[in-house]
């Protein structure tokens, strides 16, 4: 065994708590990535048995996988921050040890190998924990969703994906190595003379206020521009996505530049009130936040990332579900809710799909419905297909095949024009295949009104002309009924009935209910109820994401424990001075716990600011562009989407300080119970 590896193992054993916490954080990231894949595949495993049911549900799996994987990557990034911080502090803590090794003849390369070996071993341990934990996490989240969701009440049990396990595990190790790289490089620069000179803990570190000022100025400029000329009112995809990502990154950069100064200013601001409340303990806690800047900044940052994700995802989902998907439908369905005939009991949720082998309505049912309603309602037969070119999200978002004339009669629920008109669209539909799309899908195909898109069908390609661009129901593209033959569709998946007046609705309802009763395997449902179930189901996705994001919070809490512990360990002598001067255990504990509390408050506030800012930037930059809503109220929608996000942030701001104070309590307890002279001794043991 090489000396570097032998020493790495010794260091891991010596600092087993730090190593364990870091491995747990890496494990949290790996677990999230493994669980993301399992959960998303389990959504559709049991229900995607027919082409139609797969068309309807495939996007759920894909989007869930994408969304949860992004969450997993963020959790992994948090673990990376924690690992960096832990190794950076460990190198400082072990400065004299490293000096002794160098004095004894250890080469710089060997020092580097030793620390990277520690990181690799921690990463590997985390990967193994995460692989097991991911399976457990997916089960726990699935159970939670099953208990709480009307729609997502049935999940399959897919096998664990070995490629995903390996990929996630490898990423865990790589993140640990990358995070430890810079501290390892710093360790190689430690002089052998460090062994002879005891290191002193530093005084105040002055942050670079100029950087903070620059960040504030840039941020103010950005927000001023967005207030005056929201790009969402004129920009189209894909540029809306590009711009929102760029501005979102700029916002985060500005916050990052301002972070050290914000911590410094907050510490100064809290100093007097905390001194009044807690005495010298409160004052010292505030002073300690202004020292060891990188330790405090990274700890606050780790927390801020976790809270920011929770807040950002909340606002993002609120925007998509409340402002985009159901913007039109909410109004339309309130005024005159339509009715739908379906081959499954939608009220039964995903459980209704189980065992289904035929996902179509009986032949002739549409005719029976039409003969009942006559002129009192528009009847629209719905077919669902998968056409990657027309997918609104990813590659597996369903598209409708609908008769354009029926759509026109049914009102704005299914489609309304932002570009184009019905007369021209119907002309196009009469000539062949016509498409009604959102601007997002049109932009994906680099096409616009009256351009042609070649659509892939099971029986070959189909050239379709874009007949209209505007918001569709839940963003799904609409292919005219020319697609029925092209896709080889036999029978519709749904029959929607749109009464012309409420009186017409009241008149036809009993007969339609009786009609549904006469057919086995046919259910009739109020479309408002359908939409409600869909919205609730989509919000269940939020529940899953929340569960994952709690892991980010958990990882952040581990970060606080780790940095509090290492920080306490670094300052043992100071704690000894206080005890020798007559500070009792409670007073010393209060210093450390108050530091944790303050970091929690700061992390939650900054995270909330980051998350809400990202939501508002995104909404104001893309506005209704993905859907093509005309005159989309960008700022009202942004503020509306920000409200649930802010609420989450407020909860985090209340809860995080307790979490971080509790996380700081354990190392505090250990430090104050040690004898006074043990703390004052020069040699410091590792955490």
């Amino acid at each position: 065994m090489s000396p570097s590896l032998r020493l790495a193992l010794r260091n891991l054993r010596r600092s087993w708590r730090r190593s364990a916490l870091t491995a747990l954080a890496v494990g949290a990231g790996v677990a999230t990535l493994v669980a993301a894949d399992l959960i998303s595949r389990s959504v559709t495993e049991e229900i995607a048995r027919t082409a139609e049911s797969e068309a309807i549900t495939a996007f759920m799996s894909e989007q869930m996988n994408v969304g949860l994987t992004v969450v997993g990557l963020v959790v992994m990034a948090g673990a990376g921050l924690l690992t960096f911080n832990a190794f950076a502090m460990a190198v400082t803590q072990r400065r004299e040890d490293l000096g002794r090794l160098r004095a004894a003849g250890m080469a710089r390369r060997q020092v580097l190998q030793m620390i990277l070996a520690e990181a690799a071993l921690i990463g590997a341990a985390g990967a193994a924990l995460g692989a097991l934990g991911g399976i457990g996490l997916s089960r726990a989240l699935i159970n939670l969703v099953q208990q709480t969701s009307e729609l997502f009440n049935r999940f399959g049990s897919p096998p664990v994906s070995i490629p995903r396990l390996l990929w996630a595990g490898a990423l865990g190790v790589i993140v640990a190595l990358i995070s430890a790289w810079f501290p390892a490089r710093r360790a190689t620069a430690i002089s052998p003379l460090a062994a002879l000179r005891p290191s002193e803990t530093g005084g105040f570190e002055r942050p670079a206020h100029r950087l903070a000022l620059a960040g504030l100025v840039v941020a103010a400029g950005m927000w001023g521009y967005l207030a005056v000329d929201p790009p969402g009112l004129w920009i189209l995809p894909p540029w809306s996505n590009v711009l929102s990502m760029a501005l979102g990154a700029l916002w985060l950069l500005c916050l990052l530049l301002a972070l050290p100064s914000a911590i410094d200013l907050a510490a100064r601001a809290f100093r007097r009130p905390l001194t009044r409340i807690l005495g010298v303990s409160g004052r010292l806690a505030c002073d300690n936040l202004r020292r060891a800047r990188s330790r405090v900044v990274f700890t606050v940052l780790t927390l801020a990332v976790a809270v920011g994700m929770i807040v950002g995802v909340t606002g993002y989902l609120a925007y998509w579900f409340d402002e985009l998907f159901y913007r039109t439908s909410e109004v339309v369905l309130q005024e005159n809710p339509g009715l739908g005939f379906f081959p499954i009991n939608i009220d039964a949720g995903l459980a209704g799909y189980t065992g289904l082998t035929d996902f179509t309505l009986p032949e002739g049912l549409a005719g029976e419905v039409a003969s009942i309603v006559g002129e009192r309602a528009a009847v629209v037969e719905s077919f669902f297909v998968l056409a990657p070119e027309l997918s609104f999200l990813g590659d597996r978002y369903f598209s409708y095949v609908l008769d354009p004339r029926s759509i026109r009669e049914s009102g704005p629920l299914l489609f309304s024009f932002t570009y184009g008109d019905w007369d021209r669209a119907l002309e196009i539909a009469d000539r062949g295949c016509a498409l009604l799309l959102t601007p997002t899908v049109a932009a994906r195909n680099h096409a616009w009104l009256e351009d042609t898109i070649r659509v892939t069908t099971p029986h070959g390609s189909l050239d379709c002309t874009i007949a209209g661009i505007g918001p569709t129901f839940v963003g799904a593209s609409i292919i005219s009924d020319a697609g029925i033959a092209a896709f080889g569709l036999q029978a519709p998946v749904g029959i929607n009935v749109f009464p012309r007046t409420p009186a017409d609705r009241a008149a036809i309802l009993p007969e339609l209910e009786a009609l549904a009763g006469r057919h086995d395997g046919v259910w009739m449902m109020d479309l408002a109820r359908l939409t409600e179930i869909q919205r609730e189901g989509m919000k269940s996705v939020g529940t899953v994401m929340d569960g994952m994001l709690l892991l980010a919070v958990f990882s952040a809490a581990l970060g606080v424990v780790n940095t509090a512990a290492i920080g306490t360990s670094e300052r043992r002598r100071e704690l000894g001075i206080l005890r020798a001067a007559g500070a009792d255990r409670a007073q010393v504990s209060r210093i450390l716990i108050t530091e944790g509390l303050l970091m929690g408050v700061l992390g939650a506030l900054i995270g909330t600011l980051a998350g809400v800012g990202l939501v508002v930037v995104y909404v104001v930059t893309s506005a209704g562009a993905p859907f093509g809503y005309p005159d989309f109220p960008a700022w009202p929608a942004a503020l509306s989407s920000a409200q649930p996000a802010l609420l989450r942030g407020a909860v985090a701001a209340l809860a995080a300080p307790f979490l971080t104070a509790a996380a700081a309590w354990l190392p505090a307890r250990r430090a104050v119970r040690a004898p006074v002279m043990e703390n004052l001794a020069e040699a410091r043991r590792g955490w």
Binding site: G203, L578, P675
Partner: protein, 245 residues
């Protein structure tokens, strides 16, 4: 006169792996009020351990330490802490000041810990700093003070509560000769002007010669002592040499 400090049959053992180190083996010592006592001995003789036990910084394995007739071993953790805060002042070799506090705040630390009013704390800290000749440096943090100045701040902190005893563990060990002389002068003045009782661990015969009495330790016991007036470094060196025989 009743002794201000009395150590009786003091023992202290440290487990070091499989070996038990006996730092003190039944040590007896009494100190009168206002005395300036030096404690000398070779490395490992138990000097610093004795000081730590007298200051309540460590707990004896057996035996008793009495400070003004109060037995330290009878005190719980909280009372011992209060004793350290109000009745005992400690000066260390490496100053041990808090880096984020100014000189004034470091001096005032025991009073701040006691929750004394700000006005009283400020006034007494200013007085203590003035007494050690550092009034004009009161707003400086330790990184802006020389070694000698830091040690004088530490001494002011030890004296601010008007303690029963000041314990100084190699107070000049990290100072140049001029700064060391200044600190020793102040310790002497504390005894003369304030009636302070001072115990000082030192390796330096010249520093020991400034005291009223020098106690020699070896192997955890008091083996000899020499008393003033008129102690000289040469006499102390001579006494040390005699003990080696």
């Amino acid at each position: 006169m009743e002794p201000i400090i009395a150590a009786k049959d003091l023992q202290k053992h440290y487990p070091m792996g499989e070996v038990v180190v006996e730092a003190l083996r039944g040590l007896n010592l009494t100190v009168r009020p206002g005395e300036f006592v030096a404690i000398m001995g070779p490395s490992g003789s138990g000097k610093s351990t004795l000081l730590h036990l007298l200051g309540g910084l460590e707990v004896a394995s057996s035996g008793e330490v009495r400070l003004r007739q109060q037995s330290l071993s009878a005190l719980g953790e909280r009372d011992l802490t209060l004793m350290r805060r109000r009745k005992i002042g400690v000066v260390f070799q490496f100053f041990n000041l808090l880096p984020t506090m100014t000189a004034e705040e470091n001096v005032a630390l025991p009073l701040l810990l006691d929750g004394r009013p700000a006005r009283e704390t400020s006034a007494r800290a200013a007085e203590a700093l003035g007494w050690v000749g550092l009034a004009e440096r009161r707003r400086h943090t330790p990184d802006r003070l020389s070694g000698g100045e830091q040690q004088r701040v530490a001494l002011a902190r030890a004296l601010i509560t008007r303690p029963d005893v000041v314990l100084a563990d190699e107070p000049t060990g990290n100072l140049d000769s001029a700064s060391g002389e200044q600190v020793l002068d102040l310790l002497r003045r504390a005894c003369l002007e304030k009636g302070q009782t001072v115990l000082m661990v030192t390796h330096d015969p010249a520093a020991a010669a400034r005291t009223d009495r020098v106690v020699f330790l070896r192997d955890g016991r008091v083996i000899d002592e020499v008393r003033g007036p008129g102690l000289t470094p040469e006499a102390i060196v001579h006494a040390q040499a005699r003990l080696k025989d």
